[in-house]
Amino acid sequence: MPSPKADPPTAPSGIDLRSQSEAALELIIDTSLYTDAVIFKASYWFTDRCYLLLERQDSNHVLVRLTPRDLSIPLSAIAGEFCNELINRRVQQLVSDETRMIRELIVAQAFAESGLTDVPVQPDSVDTGTSQGS
């Protein structure tokens, strides 16, 4: 979720603030840093405040055009929030990728053991090895 505090729109690495009219903001995103999934997830959280258009520029760049629904919202605040949200989503993606296999094992083991019929009271912390964990 976007932070309510907006940073000034200094374009971080991988983001190019291409144009800023009074009504819309265009960002060019480097997809080698921010994947399509990350860009879409970040964009989703701005659909309450903005109309968004995503357009592929070339194999390594996506254009994001943000047009505020309410023109009283400063574009600089939106730009800053969007950049921060890209980073949040990218870090979440990194954590998710790094831990995906463990997560799948946890869920698989949770549902495999004893069906769903028993609610254990004292969880067992038996070692199951580290081969899947690192």
């Binding site: 954590v95 549902f111 254990p120 580290t130």
Partner: protein, 500 residues
């Protein structure tokens, strides 16, 4: 005899970074990072510590390192993968799935004497034959209730005002008791009533058959009577009198109350909480208005923005905490449900905060005419002309057709927060849930749109508020919260408090 030789366990540990992250999600909490792992455990970290953690630069000497390790956000070469522990906690959180539909609501009549502005259902004042559930319909609904695999069933009577068809309540209770005895199952009964029509024979039946009573109490008389008009404008007086009679005849702990927040309520959180204390309740459930039924048609009188409800809720909760600090035990039920999810792996049984949603698989509603709905909200929408959540009718459809339908399967599939846009990476996934009916009613699709969802905004803000209080400077708050979660008297935890 020779034995194969093995290396020490460390030999088999993979090389690489000094520590390995375990699955978690995160969000911003006032500039800090709030992390929640797959088992629902949470930690608040300074932002720079979080950045160090995810970039694998966090020193084992860091004060946060042991916390992260102990709470299963990372493992290192000296720890074991707590896979089974995390899986056990995860399974415990999802154990509500095993019971399938446990709550069965019988709408025994649509007739009612009240004309509440926020009422979620249509009410009628006449035509008993047309708007009361018949014994034949009730019998068929009972058959369906006992087809549920749940070992512990709850039968709840709703209306209209259910006491206006008390003979049918008796019929259902006696029929359910027979079936429960024959099948070796537990069944609990609840009647949701405004108490206006209580008489001694009813009270004695409720006592003899262990029926819990749930009533509405919106606060002081000026709020309650404004929210809940009836002839004579004496709803508050009737309810207070009824509460006393239930305590006297049925039992002191056999009546509970819930409140609904109207526009008028918003300016009086303290007075509402005080009224609950004055009436001798040790629980209060601060509920927002539901976006269904009559509440929608009178929205100009009852509606408000989610931020106004959040302001109301925070003020009321602050007052509840102060009352507890003074030695009077009082639980705010919504906070207690969320805190149970935040602080323990145990499911709460609260169908509005689970994934997948409880509609149809946690609760079923049998309307007065035999129509079956996935929830009470589904029935309300039907009364507005939208039958999207009608599963069928007890007279024409079999159990398998009602509860195994593709319609219900689709609803369940679309209410799994682990795969919903905006929820799938939410830090509060383990604590929250989704309400596909509210999404449908307010946003036009069961999946909904999280950035503008009042359900999402309300729950995220309340969860954050509770976590702030839990980790805040007031050391009383976490102790109080644990007493709520554990159901222990406050004096057990803080013996210095004056006894009441």
């Amino acid at each position: 005899m020779s034995y194969p030789r093995f290396h020490e366990p460390n030999h088999y540990r993979p090389s690489g970074p000094d520590y390995q992250l375990l699955p978690f999600r995160f969000t911003d909490l006032d500039g800090d990072a709030l992390l929640v792992n797959e088992a629902g455990q949470h930690l608040v970290l300074p932002r720079e510590v979080f950045q160090g953690l995810v970039s694998h630069r966090l020193s084992p000497d860091s004060p946060s390192y042991l916390d992260l390790k102990a709470n299963h956000f990372l493992i290192d070469s000296s720890s074991e993968v707590p896979l089974r522990l995390l899986a056990t906690k995860y399974r415990t959180r999802k154990s509500f799935l095993s019971g399938f539909t446990g709550l069965h609501i019988f709408v025994v009549t649509l007739r009612c004497d009240h004309s509440c502005h926020y009422c979620q259902v249509s009410r009628v004042s006449q035509n008993r034959a047309k708007y009361d559930m018949t014994e034949d319909t009730a019998e068929r609904a009972l058959d369906l209730t006992f087809r549920s695999p749940s070992r512990a069933l709850k039968v709840e009577f709703q209306g209209g005002e259910p006491l206006l068809n008390f003979d049918l309540i008796k019929f259902v209770v006696l029929g359910a008791e027979r079936r429960a005895a024959a099948s070796g199952r537990e069944v609990q009964f609840v009647v949701a009533t405004n108490l206006a029509f209580l008489d001694d024979p009813m009270l004695e039946f409720l006592r003899d058959h262990h029926v819990l009573v749930s009533t509405s109490m919106d606060g002081p008389a000026f709020i309650h009577n404004a929210n809940r008009p009836r002839p004579g404008n004496d709803s508050h007086q009737m309810t207070v009198r009824g509460i006393a009679r239930v305590r006297e005849i049925v039992g002191p702990d056999r009546v509970s109350a819930i409140m609904t927040t109207s526009r008028l309520s918003l300016d009086h959180p303290e007075a509402i909480v005080d009224e609950y204390v004055r009436l001798g309740f040790d629980h209060i459930f601060l509920r927002p208005i539901s976006p269904y039924g009559f509440a929608v048609r009178t929205r100009h009188r009852t509606g408000y923005e989610v931020q106004r409800f959040l302001d109301f809720y925070r003020r009321a909760l602050t007052h509840v905490i102060e009352i507890n600090r003074g030695g009077q035990f009082l639980v705010e039920d919504y906070a207690s449900i969320l805190l149970t999810k935040i602080l323990t792996p145990f499911p709460t049984g609260y169908v509005d905060l689970q994934s997948p949603a409880g509609a149809g698989i946690g609760v079923a509603v049998y309307d007065y005419d035999g129509d079956v709905y996935v929830s009470d909200e589904g029935r309300m929408l039907a009364q507005m002309g939208d039958k999207s959540f009608r599963l069928g009718n007890v007279h024409s459809d079999r159990y398998e057709e009602l509860f195994g339908s593709s319609h219900l399967r689709k609803l369940v599939t679309e209410s799994v927060v682990e795969s919903m846009p905006g929820c799938s990476e939410c830090a509060f996934q383990s604590y929250c849930g989704c309400d596909p009916l509210e999404n449908h009613a307010t946003q036009g699709s069961t999946v909904g749109h999280r950035p503008t969802s009042e359900f999402h905004i309300r729950n995220v803000e309340i969860i954050k508020h509770l976590i702030r209080l839990y980790h805040g400077p007031d050391v009383f708050a976490p102790k109080l919260f644990w007493s709520w979660v554990q159901g222990r008297p406050l004096q057990d935890i803080l013996p210095e408090l004056p006894a009441h």
